[in-house]
Protein backbone atom coordinates (compact mmCIF):
# COMPACT_ATOMS: atom_id res chain seq x y z
CA UNK A 1 0.00 0.00 0.00
CA UNK A 2 1.31 3.42 -0.77
CA UNK A 3 0.37 6.85 0.36
CA UNK A 4 -1.55 8.53 -2.46
CA UNK A 5 -2.73 11.68 -0.75
CA UNK A 6 -1.01 13.47 2.14
CA UNK A 7 0.39 16.83 3.18
CA UNK A 8 2.23 18.11 0.07
CA UNK A 9 5.89 19.16 0.06
CA UNK A 10 4.91 22.66 -1.01
CA UNK A 11 3.49 23.30 2.46
CA UNK A 12 5.68 23.68 5.55
CA UNK A 13 5.07 21.54 8.63
CA UNK A 14 3.43 24.46 10.41
CA UNK A 15 -0.22 23.64 11.01
CA UNK A 16 -2.53 26.26 9.56
CA UNK A 17 -4.43 28.33 12.05
CA UNK A 18 -7.44 29.08 9.85
CA UNK A 19 -10.96 28.46 11.21
CA UNK A 20 -12.48 24.98 10.89
CA UNK A 21 -13.94 24.65 7.40
CA UNK A 22 -12.14 27.72 5.97
CA UNK A 23 -11.50 27.52 2.25
CA UNK A 24 -7.97 29.00 2.60
CA UNK A 25 -6.64 25.65 3.77
CA UNK A 26 -7.96 23.82 0.73
CA UNK A 27 -6.44 26.33 -1.71
CA UNK A 28 -3.13 26.39 0.21
CA UNK A 29 -2.99 22.62 -0.10
CA UNK A 30 -3.65 22.74 -3.85
CA UNK A 31 -0.88 25.31 -4.33
CA UNK A 32 1.39 23.18 -2.13
CA UNK A 33 0.75 20.22 -4.45
CA UNK A 34 1.35 22.29 -7.61
CA UNK A 35 4.62 23.76 -6.36
CA UNK A 36 5.95 20.19 -6.26
CA UNK A 37 4.15 18.72 -9.29
CA UNK A 38 5.23 21.55 -11.58
CA UNK A 39 8.73 21.52 -10.05
CA UNK A 40 8.60 25.24 -9.25
CA UNK A 41 8.95 25.22 -5.46
CA UNK A 42 12.60 26.23 -5.59
CA UNK A 43 11.91 28.99 -8.08
CA UNK A 44 8.77 30.32 -6.43
CA UNK A 45 8.34 33.58 -4.57
CA UNK A 46 4.92 33.93 -2.98
CA UNK A 47 3.26 37.10 -1.79
CA UNK A 48 1.11 36.88 1.33
CA UNK A 49 -1.60 39.54 1.68
CA UNK A 50 -3.02 41.37 4.65
CA UNK A 51 -6.04 39.43 5.82
CA UNK A 52 -6.54 36.01 7.35
CA UNK A 53 -3.91 34.62 5.00
CA UNK A 54 -1.25 37.09 6.14
CA UNK A 55 0.17 33.97 7.78
CA UNK A 56 0.67 32.33 4.40
CA UNK A 57 4.34 33.24 4.70
CA UNK A 58 4.54 30.51 7.38
CA UNK A 59 2.64 27.93 5.36
CA UNK A 60 4.04 27.92 1.80
CA UNK A 61 7.36 26.12 1.60
CA UNK A 62 9.09 28.65 -0.67
CA UNK A 63 10.50 32.19 -0.52
CA UNK A 64 7.79 34.52 0.72
CA UNK A 65 7.20 38.24 1.20
CA UNK A 66 4.46 40.05 3.08
CA UNK A 67 3.77 43.56 1.71
CA UNK A 68 1.19 46.27 2.53
CA UNK A 69 -2.54 45.63 2.09
CA UNK A 70 -3.56 45.37 -1.54
CA UNK A 71 -0.12 45.94 -3.00
CA UNK A 72 0.60 42.32 -3.92
CA UNK A 73 0.34 42.84 -7.68
CA UNK A 74 2.79 45.77 -7.53
CA UNK A 75 5.25 43.84 -5.36
CA UNK A 76 4.87 40.83 -7.68
CA UNK A 77 5.65 43.08 -10.65
CA UNK A 78 8.81 44.30 -8.92
CA UNK A 79 10.01 40.78 -8.13
CA UNK A 80 9.13 39.33 -11.55
CA UNK A 81 10.76 42.16 -13.51
CA UNK A 82 13.86 41.98 -11.30
CA UNK A 83 14.05 38.15 -11.42
CA UNK A 84 12.13 36.89 -14.47
CA UNK A 85 13.18 33.28 -13.74
CA UNK A 86 11.27 33.22 -10.46
CA UNK A 87 7.69 31.99 -10.43
CA UNK A 88 5.83 34.74 -8.63
CA UNK A 89 2.37 34.25 -7.18
CA UNK A 90 0.24 36.78 -5.33
CA UNK A 91 -2.28 35.26 -2.92
CA UNK A 92 -5.00 37.75 -1.98
CA UNK A 93 -8.39 37.99 -0.31
CA UNK A 94 -11.30 40.18 -1.28
CA UNK A 95 -10.35 43.11 0.96
CA UNK A 96 -6.79 43.00 -0.34
CA UNK A 97 -7.62 42.65 -4.02
CA UNK A 98 -11.09 44.12 -4.51
CA UNK A 99 -11.03 46.93 -1.99
CA UNK A 100 -7.76 48.65 -1.18
CA UNK A 101 -5.85 46.98 -4.02
CA UNK A 102 -8.17 47.60 -6.98
CA UNK A 103 -5.76 49.96 -8.71
CA UNK A 104 -2.86 47.54 -8.40
CA UNK A 105 -4.73 44.49 -9.71
CA UNK A 106 -6.27 46.37 -12.64
CA UNK A 107 -2.96 47.81 -13.75
CA UNK A 108 -1.04 44.56 -13.34
CA UNK A 109 -3.74 42.88 -15.47
CA UNK A 110 -3.67 45.70 -18.02
CA UNK A 111 0.12 45.39 -18.30
CA UNK A 112 -0.35 41.62 -18.71
CA UNK A 113 2.35 41.10 -16.08
CA UNK A 114 3.60 37.52 -16.27
CA UNK A 115 2.43 36.63 -12.74
CA UNK A 116 -0.13 34.31 -11.17
CA UNK A 117 -2.79 35.79 -8.90
CA UNK A 118 -4.88 33.63 -6.55
CA UNK A 119 -7.97 35.59 -5.50
CA UNK A 120 -9.90 34.15 -2.54
CA UNK A 121 -13.44 35.51 -2.63
CA UNK A 122 -15.36 34.80 0.55
CA UNK A 123 -17.62 37.84 0.31
CA UNK A 124 -16.53 39.23 3.67
CA UNK A 125 -13.56 40.65 5.60
CA UNK A 126 -12.33 37.72 7.66
CA UNK A 127 -9.33 38.81 9.70
CA UNK A 128 -10.82 42.04 11.00
CA UNK A 129 -13.95 40.33 12.27
CA UNK A 130 -16.53 40.08 9.50
CA UNK A 131 -17.10 43.52 7.99
CA UNK A 132 -18.66 44.05 4.58
CA UNK A 133 -16.39 43.51 1.63
CA UNK A 134 -16.71 44.84 -1.93
CA UNK A 135 -17.81 41.29 -2.75
CA UNK A 136 -20.50 41.02 -0.03
CA UNK A 137 -23.81 40.09 -1.65
CA UNK A 138 -26.86 42.41 -1.63
CA UNK A 139 -28.84 41.79 1.54
CA UNK A 140 -25.96 39.85 3.11
CA UNK A 141 -25.33 40.57 6.78
CA UNK A 142 -21.95 41.65 8.07
CA UNK A 143 -20.75 43.64 11.05
CA UNK A 144 -20.94 46.85 8.98
CA UNK A 145 -24.18 45.90 7.27
CA UNK A 146 -26.04 44.40 10.20
CA UNK A 147 -29.44 44.61 8.50
CA UNK A 148 -28.01 43.28 5.24
CA UNK A 149 -26.10 45.07 2.48
CA UNK A 150 -28.24 48.02 1.41
CA UNK A 151 -27.65 48.60 -2.28
CA UNK A 152 -28.89 52.18 -2.07
CA UNK A 153 -26.38 53.19 0.61
CA UNK A 154 -23.62 50.67 0.14
CA UNK A 155 -23.63 50.03 -3.57
CA UNK A 156 -23.33 46.83 -5.53
CA UNK A 157 -20.78 44.06 -5.16
CA UNK A 158 -17.85 43.85 -7.55
CA UNK A 159 -17.38 41.01 -9.98
CA UNK A 160 -13.65 40.92 -10.44
CA UNK A 161 -13.32 38.35 -13.25
CA UNK A 162 -15.94 40.16 -15.31
CA UNK A 163 -14.30 43.50 -14.63
CA UNK A 164 -10.79 42.40 -15.54
CA UNK A 165 -12.15 40.68 -18.65
CA UNK A 166 -13.02 44.12 -20.00
CA UNK A 167 -9.27 44.83 -20.32
CA UNK A 168 -7.28 43.72 -23.35
CA UNK A 169 -4.30 42.84 -21.17
CA UNK A 170 -4.95 39.73 -19.10
CA UNK A 171 -4.21 36.28 -20.53
CA UNK A 172 -6.32 34.00 -18.32
CA UNK A 173 -9.20 34.67 -15.92
CA UNK A 174 -11.23 31.92 -14.31
CA UNK A 175 -13.65 31.66 -11.43
CA UNK A 176 -13.81 28.46 -9.39
CA UNK A 177 -14.98 27.28 -5.97
CA UNK A 178 -13.80 24.89 -3.27
CA UNK A 179 -17.21 23.81 -1.95
CA UNK A 180 -17.41 20.28 -3.36
CA UNK A 181 -14.79 17.77 -4.57
CA UNK A 182 -15.70 18.29 -8.24
CA UNK A 183 -15.02 22.00 -7.91
CA UNK A 184 -11.86 21.43 -5.90
CA UNK A 185 -10.57 19.37 -8.83
CA UNK A 186 -11.51 22.16 -11.27
CA UNK A 187 -9.79 24.71 -9.03
CA UNK A 188 -6.59 22.71 -9.14
CA UNK A 189 -6.86 22.49 -12.93
CA UNK A 190 -7.32 26.25 -13.19
CA UNK A 191 -4.41 27.00 -10.85
CA UNK A 192 -2.22 24.57 -12.79
CA UNK A 193 -3.08 26.43 -15.98
CA UNK A 194 -2.39 29.74 -14.26
CA UNK A 195 1.07 28.63 -13.13
CA UNK A 196 1.85 27.05 -16.50
CA UNK A 197 0.95 30.31 -18.20
CA UNK A 198 3.66 32.02 -16.17
CA UNK A 199 6.16 29.24 -16.80
CA UNK A 200 5.52 29.61 -20.54
CA UNK A 201 5.70 33.41 -20.42
CA UNK A 202 2.13 33.91 -21.57
CA UNK A 203 1.22 36.70 -19.18
CA UNK A 204 -1.30 37.55 -16.48
CA UNK A 205 -3.41 34.81 -14.93
CA UNK A 206 -5.96 35.24 -12.16
CA UNK A 207 -8.02 32.47 -10.60
CA UNK A 208 -10.90 33.71 -8.43
CA UNK A 209 -11.99 31.07 -5.92
CA UNK A 210 -15.29 31.18 -4.03
CA UNK A 211 -14.31 30.06 -0.56
CA UNK A 212 -16.08 29.23 2.70
CA UNK A 213 -15.87 31.61 5.68
CA UNK A 214 -18.00 29.90 8.33
CA UNK A 215 -16.98 32.32 11.07
CA UNK A 216 -17.70 35.44 9.00
CA UNK A 217 -20.96 34.06 7.65
CA UNK A 218 -22.16 32.83 11.05
CA UNK A 219 -22.67 29.34 9.67
CA UNK A 220 -21.26 25.84 10.13
CA UNK A 221 -18.70 24.69 7.57
CA UNK A 222 -21.28 22.43 5.91
CA UNK A 223 -23.87 25.25 5.78
CA UNK A 224 -21.19 27.50 4.29
CA UNK A 225 -20.40 25.12 1.49
CA UNK A 226 -24.12 24.85 0.71
CA UNK A 227 -24.41 28.64 0.67
CA UNK A 228 -21.71 28.76 -1.99
CA UNK A 229 -23.54 26.09 -4.02
CA UNK A 230 -27.01 27.59 -3.67
CA UNK A 231 -26.47 31.34 -3.46
CA UNK A 232 -22.96 32.68 -3.93
CA UNK A 233 -22.19 30.89 -7.18
CA UNK A 234 -25.43 32.22 -8.64
CA UNK A 235 -24.18 35.76 -8.13
CA UNK A 236 -20.60 34.92 -9.10
CA UNK A 237 -20.98 32.30 -11.86
CA UNK A 238 -18.12 29.82 -12.15
CA UNK A 239 -16.33 29.54 -15.46
CA UNK A 240 -13.68 30.91 -17.78
CA UNK A 241 -13.79 34.65 -18.38
CA UNK A 242 -10.69 34.98 -20.53
CA UNK A 243 -8.40 32.41 -22.04
CA UNK A 244 -6.15 33.77 -24.75
CA UNK A 245 -4.81 30.30 -25.43
CA UNK A 246 -8.30 29.27 -26.59
CA UNK A 247 -8.92 32.58 -28.38
CA UNK A 248 -5.73 32.04 -30.33
CA UNK A 249 -6.95 28.69 -31.65
Amino acid sequence: MKKVFSRPGGLTDTLMRYCPGCGHGIVHRIIGELLVELNIREKAVGIAPVGCSVFADEYFNCDMIQPPHGRGPAVSTGIKRARPDCIVFSYQGDGDLASIGTAEIIHAAARNENITVVFINNAIFGMTGGQMAPTTLPGMRSTTSVKGRDIKKQGYPMKICEMLASLDGPYYLERCAVDIPKNVVKTKKALKKAFNNQINGNGFSLVEILSMCPTGWGQTPVQSKRWIQETMSKYYPLGTYRDQSKEAE
Binding site: R41, E42, K43, A44, V45, A48, V54, D57, N61, C62, D63, M64, I65, Q66, P67, P68, R71, A74, V75, S76, T77, G78, I79, K80, R81, A82, R83, D85, C86, I87, A103, E104, I106, H107
Partner: protein, 355 residues
Protein backbone atom coordinates in the same frame (compact mmCIF):
# COMPACT_ATOMS: atom_id res chain seq x y z
CA UNK B 1 40.19 63.45 -18.01
CA UNK B 2 36.76 62.55 -16.69
CA UNK B 3 33.74 63.20 -18.85
CA UNK B 4 32.10 66.54 -17.93
CA UNK B 5 28.69 67.73 -19.08
CA UNK B 6 26.26 70.59 -18.52
CA UNK B 7 23.09 68.97 -17.23
CA UNK B 8 19.84 69.43 -15.37
CA UNK B 9 19.99 68.38 -11.74
CA UNK B 10 17.17 65.93 -12.47
CA UNK B 11 19.18 64.41 -15.31
CA UNK B 12 22.28 64.19 -13.12
CA UNK B 13 20.24 61.99 -10.77
CA UNK B 14 19.41 59.64 -13.65
CA UNK B 15 23.05 59.29 -14.71
CA UNK B 16 24.16 58.93 -11.10
CA UNK B 17 21.62 56.18 -10.45
CA UNK B 18 22.76 54.24 -13.50
CA UNK B 19 26.43 54.77 -12.65
CA UNK B 20 25.63 53.34 -9.19
CA UNK B 21 24.63 50.07 -10.86
CA UNK B 22 20.90 50.46 -10.37
CA UNK B 23 18.81 48.89 -13.14
CA UNK B 24 15.29 49.20 -11.71
CA UNK B 25 13.13 52.31 -11.72
CA UNK B 26 9.42 52.53 -11.00
CA UNK B 27 7.80 55.94 -10.68
CA UNK B 28 4.92 58.23 -11.41
CA UNK B 29 5.06 61.67 -13.03
CA UNK B 30 4.90 64.72 -10.74
CA UNK B 31 6.34 68.21 -11.17
CA UNK B 32 9.14 69.29 -10.60
CA UNK B 33 10.85 65.94 -11.19
CA UNK B 34 9.25 64.71 -14.44
CA UNK B 35 12.59 64.96 -16.20
CA UNK B 36 13.72 62.00 -14.09
CA UNK B 37 11.21 59.40 -15.36
CA UNK B 38 11.38 60.89 -18.85
CA UNK B 39 15.14 60.48 -19.21
CA UNK B 40 15.04 57.24 -17.22
CA UNK B 41 12.57 55.71 -19.70
CA UNK B 42 15.19 56.17 -22.42
CA UNK B 43 18.39 55.47 -20.48
CA UNK B 44 17.12 52.45 -18.52
CA UNK B 45 16.17 50.75 -21.76
CA UNK B 46 19.59 51.61 -23.22
CA UNK B 47 21.24 49.99 -20.19
CA UNK B 48 18.99 46.90 -20.32
CA UNK B 49 17.26 47.75 -17.06
CA UNK B 50 13.63 47.93 -15.97
CA UNK B 51 11.62 51.12 -16.34
CA UNK B 52 8.00 51.15 -15.23
CA UNK B 53 5.72 54.15 -15.25
CA UNK B 54 3.38 53.06 -12.48
CA UNK B 55 -0.29 53.72 -11.83
CA UNK B 56 0.53 55.68 -8.68
CA UNK B 57 3.28 56.42 -6.21
CA UNK B 58 1.80 53.75 -3.98
CA UNK B 59 2.39 51.17 -6.71
CA UNK B 60 5.90 52.56 -7.28
CA UNK B 61 7.14 52.13 -3.72
CA UNK B 62 5.67 48.63 -3.64
CA UNK B 63 7.34 47.63 -6.91
CA UNK B 64 10.55 48.80 -5.28
CA UNK B 65 9.76 46.60 -2.29
CA UNK B 66 9.53 43.62 -4.63
CA UNK B 67 12.64 44.37 -6.68
CA UNK B 68 14.76 45.23 -3.64
CA UNK B 69 13.54 42.19 -1.71
CA UNK B 70 14.68 40.21 -4.74
CA UNK B 71 18.15 41.65 -4.07
CA UNK B 72 18.37 44.30 -6.79
CA UNK B 73 19.26 47.97 -6.48
CA UNK B 74 15.96 49.80 -7.03
CA UNK B 75 14.92 53.44 -6.92
CA UNK B 76 12.05 55.79 -7.40
CA UNK B 77 11.69 59.55 -7.53
CA UNK B 78 8.79 61.78 -6.71
CA UNK B 79 7.89 65.09 -5.11
CA UNK B 80 6.25 65.91 -1.80
CA UNK B 81 2.60 64.80 -2.35
CA UNK B 82 3.82 61.59 -4.00
CA UNK B 83 6.27 60.97 -1.17
CA UNK B 84 3.36 61.27 1.25
CA UNK B 85 1.68 58.41 -0.61
CA UNK B 86 4.84 56.33 -0.27
CA UNK B 87 5.04 56.59 3.53
CA UNK B 88 3.25 53.30 4.14
CA UNK B 89 5.62 51.55 1.76
CA UNK B 90 8.68 53.17 3.32
CA UNK B 91 7.51 52.08 6.77
CA UNK B 92 7.21 48.50 5.51
CA UNK B 93 10.66 48.72 3.88
CA UNK B 94 12.19 49.98 7.11
CA UNK B 95 10.31 47.32 9.09
CA UNK B 96 11.56 44.58 6.77
CA UNK B 97 15.09 46.07 6.65
CA UNK B 98 15.14 46.39 2.87
CA UNK B 99 17.43 48.91 1.14
CA UNK B 100 16.02 51.18 -1.57
CA UNK B 101 16.64 54.72 -2.82
CA UNK B 102 13.82 57.27 -2.81
CA UNK B 103 14.47 60.71 -4.28
CA UNK B 104 12.23 63.57 -3.14
CA UNK B 105 12.44 66.73 -5.26
CA UNK B 106 10.60 68.83 -2.70
CA UNK B 107 7.95 71.34 -3.70
CA UNK B 108 5.76 73.79 -1.78
CA UNK B 109 3.15 72.29 0.52
CA UNK B 110 1.14 71.23 2.38
CA UNK B 111 -1.56 69.73 0.19
CA UNK B 112 -1.21 70.25 -3.53
CA UNK B 113 0.91 73.32 -2.67
CA UNK B 114 2.75 74.59 -5.73
CA UNK B 115 5.59 73.44 -7.96
CA UNK B 116 8.22 75.83 -6.59
CA UNK B 117 11.15 74.55 -4.51
CA UNK B 118 10.79 74.01 -0.76
CA UNK B 119 12.35 72.24 2.22
CA UNK B 120 9.14 71.53 4.10
CA UNK B 121 9.47 67.73 3.99
CA UNK B 122 12.37 67.69 6.49
CA UNK B 123 10.25 66.32 9.35
CA UNK B 124 8.73 63.70 7.05
CA UNK B 125 12.18 62.62 5.89
CA UNK B 126 14.02 62.63 9.21
CA UNK B 127 11.40 61.52 11.69
CA UNK B 128 10.28 58.30 10.03
CA UNK B 129 7.45 59.84 8.00
CA UNK B 130 5.27 56.75 8.11
CA UNK B 131 3.98 54.86 11.11
CA UNK B 132 6.17 53.12 13.65
CA UNK B 133 9.61 53.63 15.16
CA UNK B 134 12.12 53.95 12.35
CA UNK B 135 14.48 56.30 10.53
CA UNK B 136 15.73 56.44 6.96
CA UNK B 137 19.22 57.59 6.00
CA UNK B 138 18.63 61.03 4.45
CA UNK B 139 21.17 62.79 2.28
CA UNK B 140 21.01 66.48 1.27
CA UNK B 141 22.70 67.26 -2.05
CA UNK B 142 23.26 70.90 -2.99
CA UNK B 143 24.52 70.73 -6.57
CA UNK B 144 24.09 68.78 -9.76
CA UNK B 145 27.46 67.16 -8.98
CA UNK B 146 26.04 65.93 -5.66
CA UNK B 147 22.93 64.68 -7.43
CA UNK B 148 25.22 62.59 -9.63
CA UNK B 149 27.39 61.26 -6.79
CA UNK B 150 24.89 60.80 -3.94
CA UNK B 151 22.85 57.91 -5.41
CA UNK B 152 25.93 55.67 -5.18
CA UNK B 153 26.59 56.77 -1.60
CA UNK B 154 22.91 56.26 -0.75
CA UNK B 155 22.85 52.72 -2.16
CA UNK B 156 26.12 51.80 -0.45
CA UNK B 157 24.85 52.99 2.94
CA UNK B 158 21.36 51.55 2.41
CA UNK B 159 22.78 48.11 1.63
CA UNK B 160 25.45 48.20 4.33
CA UNK B 161 22.86 48.92 7.00
CA UNK B 162 19.79 47.33 5.34
CA UNK B 163 17.61 50.41 5.48
CA UNK B 164 15.83 52.67 2.96
CA UNK B 165 17.71 55.84 1.99
CA UNK B 166 16.25 59.18 0.92
CA UNK B 167 17.77 61.90 -1.21
CA UNK B 168 16.15 65.18 -0.19
CA UNK B 169 16.56 67.56 -3.15
CA UNK B 170 14.32 70.47 -4.07
CA UNK B 171 12.71 71.86 -7.21
CA UNK B 172 15.49 74.39 -7.76
CA UNK B 173 18.27 71.80 -7.61
CA UNK B 174 16.29 69.54 -9.92
CA UNK B 175 15.67 72.19 -12.54
CA UNK B 176 18.97 74.09 -12.62
CA UNK B 177 21.77 73.26 -15.06
CA UNK B 178 25.33 72.89 -13.85
CA UNK B 179 28.49 71.13 -15.00
CA UNK B 180 28.68 67.55 -13.80
CA UNK B 181 31.89 65.55 -13.84
CA UNK B 182 31.42 61.82 -14.25
CA UNK B 183 33.76 61.34 -11.35
CA UNK B 184 33.71 57.61 -10.71
CA UNK B 185 33.81 54.43 -12.74
CA UNK B 186 30.24 53.24 -13.32
CA UNK B 187 29.37 50.12 -11.35
CA UNK B 188 28.49 47.00 -13.31
CA UNK B 189 25.34 45.61 -11.67
CA UNK B 190 26.63 42.06 -12.28
CA UNK B 191 29.59 42.85 -10.03
CA UNK B 192 27.39 43.68 -7.04
CA UNK B 193 27.54 40.90 -4.41
CA UNK B 194 24.52 38.63 -3.87
CA UNK B 195 22.57 39.42 -0.73
CA UNK B 196 22.18 36.58 1.72
CA UNK B 197 18.66 37.65 2.64
CA UNK B 198 17.28 38.21 -0.88
CA UNK B 199 14.34 36.30 -2.38
CA UNK B 200 15.46 34.40 -5.45
CA UNK B 201 13.81 31.01 -5.18
CA UNK B 202 15.00 28.56 -2.48
CA UNK B 203 17.03 26.27 -4.73
CA UNK B 204 19.94 24.85 -2.74
CA UNK B 205 19.07 26.67 0.47
CA UNK B 206 16.45 27.18 3.18
CA UNK B 207 13.52 29.32 2.16
CA UNK B 208 13.61 33.00 3.06
CA UNK B 209 10.84 35.28 4.27
CA UNK B 210 10.78 39.07 3.96
CA UNK B 211 8.28 40.61 6.32
CA UNK B 212 7.88 43.45 8.76
CA UNK B 213 5.58 41.81 11.29
CA UNK B 214 5.76 39.31 14.12
CA UNK B 215 2.71 38.63 16.22
CA UNK B 216 4.40 36.36 18.76
CA UNK B 217 4.57 38.17 22.13
CA UNK B 218 7.76 40.11 22.61
CA UNK B 219 9.13 39.46 19.13
CA UNK B 220 8.24 42.79 17.53
CA UNK B 221 9.74 44.56 20.53
CA UNK B 222 12.95 42.59 19.93
CA UNK B 223 12.92 43.53 16.22
CA UNK B 224 12.57 47.21 17.12
CA UNK B 225 15.33 47.12 19.72
CA UNK B 226 17.73 45.45 17.27
CA UNK B 227 16.88 47.99 14.61
CA UNK B 228 17.62 50.85 16.95
CA UNK B 229 20.97 49.31 17.87
CA UNK B 230 21.67 49.51 14.15
CA UNK B 231 20.58 53.15 14.09
CA UNK B 232 22.95 53.90 16.98
CA UNK B 233 25.83 52.62 14.88
CA UNK B 234 24.72 54.72 11.91
CA UNK B 235 24.45 57.77 14.14
CA UNK B 236 27.99 57.26 15.41
CA UNK B 237 29.65 56.50 12.11
CA UNK B 238 27.79 58.16 9.25
CA UNK B 239 27.34 61.83 10.17
CA UNK B 240 28.38 64.02 7.26
CA UNK B 241 28.62 67.79 6.96
CA UNK B 242 30.62 70.58 5.28
CA UNK B 243 31.91 73.44 7.44
CA UNK B 244 33.34 76.71 6.20
CA UNK B 245 34.90 79.39 8.42
CA UNK B 246 33.23 78.05 11.54
CA UNK B 247 36.11 77.97 13.99
CA UNK B 248 36.28 81.69 14.71
CA UNK B 249 32.69 82.54 13.86
CA UNK B 250 30.43 84.77 15.93
CA UNK B 251 27.55 83.44 13.89
CA UNK B 252 27.24 80.17 11.99
CA UNK B 253 24.60 79.85 9.28
CA UNK B 254 23.06 76.39 9.20
CA UNK B 255 21.52 75.43 5.86
CA UNK B 256 21.25 72.47 3.49
CA UNK B 257 20.42 72.06 -0.18
CA UNK B 258 19.64 75.23 -2.12
CA UNK B 259 19.71 77.29 1.09
CA UNK B 260 23.33 76.29 1.67
CA UNK B 261 24.30 77.78 -1.71
CA UNK B 262 22.43 81.02 -1.01
CA UNK B 263 23.80 81.14 2.54
CA UNK B 264 27.33 80.64 1.22
CA UNK B 265 26.95 83.83 -0.77
CA UNK B 266 25.54 85.65 2.26
CA UNK B 267 28.45 84.41 4.36
CA UNK B 268 30.95 85.81 1.87
CA UNK B 269 29.11 89.14 1.85
CA UNK B 270 29.37 89.21 5.64
CA UNK B 271 33.07 88.27 5.70
CA UNK B 272 33.73 91.06 3.16
CA UNK B 273 32.18 93.45 5.63
CA UNK B 274 34.39 92.16 8.43
CA UNK B 275 31.75 90.04 10.15
CA UNK B 276 32.93 86.65 11.47
CA UNK B 277 30.36 84.36 9.88
CA UNK B 278 30.65 80.69 9.06
CA UNK B 279 28.50 78.14 7.24
CA UNK B 280 27.66 74.67 8.52
CA UNK B 281 25.96 72.55 5.90
CA UNK B 282 24.55 69.20 7.07
CA UNK B 283 25.02 66.64 4.30
CA UNK B 284 23.31 63.85 6.22
CA UNK B 285 20.02 65.10 7.64
CA UNK B 286 19.62 61.72 9.25
CA UNK B 287 21.89 60.96 10.99
CA UNK B 288 22.03 64.65 11.82
CA UNK B 289 25.64 65.78 12.36
CA UNK B 290 25.06 66.35 16.07
CA UNK B 291 28.73 65.97 17.06
CA UNK B 292 29.97 69.03 15.21
CA UNK B 293 27.08 71.11 16.58
CA UNK B 294 27.81 69.98 20.11
CA UNK B 295 31.43 71.09 19.61
CA UNK B 296 30.82 74.41 17.91
CA UNK B 297 28.05 75.49 20.24
CA UNK B 298 30.57 75.61 23.06
CA UNK B 299 32.36 78.53 21.38
CA UNK B 300 29.85 80.07 18.98
CA UNK B 301 27.37 82.63 20.21
CA UNK B 302 24.85 82.50 17.37
CA UNK B 303 23.46 80.00 14.91
CA UNK B 304 21.20 81.24 12.11
CA UNK B 305 19.12 78.45 10.62
CA UNK B 306 17.96 79.18 7.08
CA UNK B 307 15.27 76.93 5.59
CA UNK B 308 12.72 77.04 2.80
CA UNK B 309 10.01 76.13 5.30
CA UNK B 310 8.39 77.42 8.49
CA UNK B 311 11.19 75.85 10.51
CA UNK B 312 11.87 72.12 10.75
CA UNK B 313 15.62 71.51 10.83
CA UNK B 314 15.86 74.21 13.49
CA UNK B 315 14.54 71.64 16.01
CA UNK B 316 17.55 69.41 15.35
CA UNK B 317 19.92 72.38 15.67
CA UNK B 318 18.40 73.22 19.05
CA UNK B 319 18.66 69.61 20.17
CA UNK B 320 22.24 69.23 18.96
CA UNK B 321 23.46 72.49 20.52
CA UNK B 322 21.26 72.00 23.58
CA UNK B 323 20.49 75.68 23.05
CA UNK B 324 23.88 76.62 24.49
CA UNK B 325 24.02 79.24 21.74
CA UNK B 326 21.30 81.62 20.57
CA UNK B 327 19.40 79.90 17.75
CA UNK B 328 17.90 82.28 15.16
CA UNK B 329 15.72 81.44 12.16
CA UNK B 330 15.11 82.75 8.68
CA UNK B 331 12.47 80.90 6.70
CA UNK B 332 10.76 81.14 3.33
CA UNK B 333 7.85 78.69 3.15
CA UNK B 334 5.40 77.80 0.39
CA UNK B 335 7.86 77.85 -2.49
CA UNK B 336 9.75 81.00 -1.50
CA UNK B 337 13.53 81.02 -2.06
CA UNK B 338 15.77 83.29 0.06
CA UNK B 339 18.32 85.65 -1.48
CA UNK B 340 21.84 86.43 -0.21
CA UNK B 341 20.98 90.06 0.65
CA UNK B 342 18.00 89.08 2.81
CA UNK B 343 20.11 86.57 4.74
CA UNK B 344 22.91 89.13 5.09
CA UNK B 345 20.39 91.64 6.49
CA UNK B 346 19.41 89.10 9.13
CA UNK B 347 23.06 88.47 9.99
CA UNK B 348 23.65 92.21 10.35
CA UNK B 349 20.69 92.57 12.68
CA UNK B 350 21.91 89.72 14.88
CA UNK B 351 25.53 90.83 15.03
CA UNK B 352 24.73 94.53 15.31
CA UNK B 353 25.97 95.82 11.98
CA UNK B 354 29.09 95.71 9.80
CA UNK B 355 32.49 96.30 11.38
Amino acid sequence: MADKRLMYGNHAIVEGVLAAGCRFFAGYPITPQNEIPELMSIRMNEEGGVFIQTESEIAAINMLFGAAAAGKRAMTSSSSPGISLMQEGISYLAGADIPVLVVNVVRGGPGLGNIAPAQSDYYQATRGGGHGDYFTITLAPNSAQDLYEFPKLAFDLAEQYRTPALLLADGLLGQMMEPVEFSFKPIDPESLPEKEWALSGCSGRERRVVRSYDLKPGKLEEMNVRRFEKYDIIRKKEQRFKAEYCNDADLIIVAYGTCSRVSGAAMRMARDKGLKVGLLRPVTLWPFPTDVFADLSKSTENFLVVEMSCGQMIDDVKLATECRSKIHFHGRPGGGVPTPPEIYEKIEKILGGAK
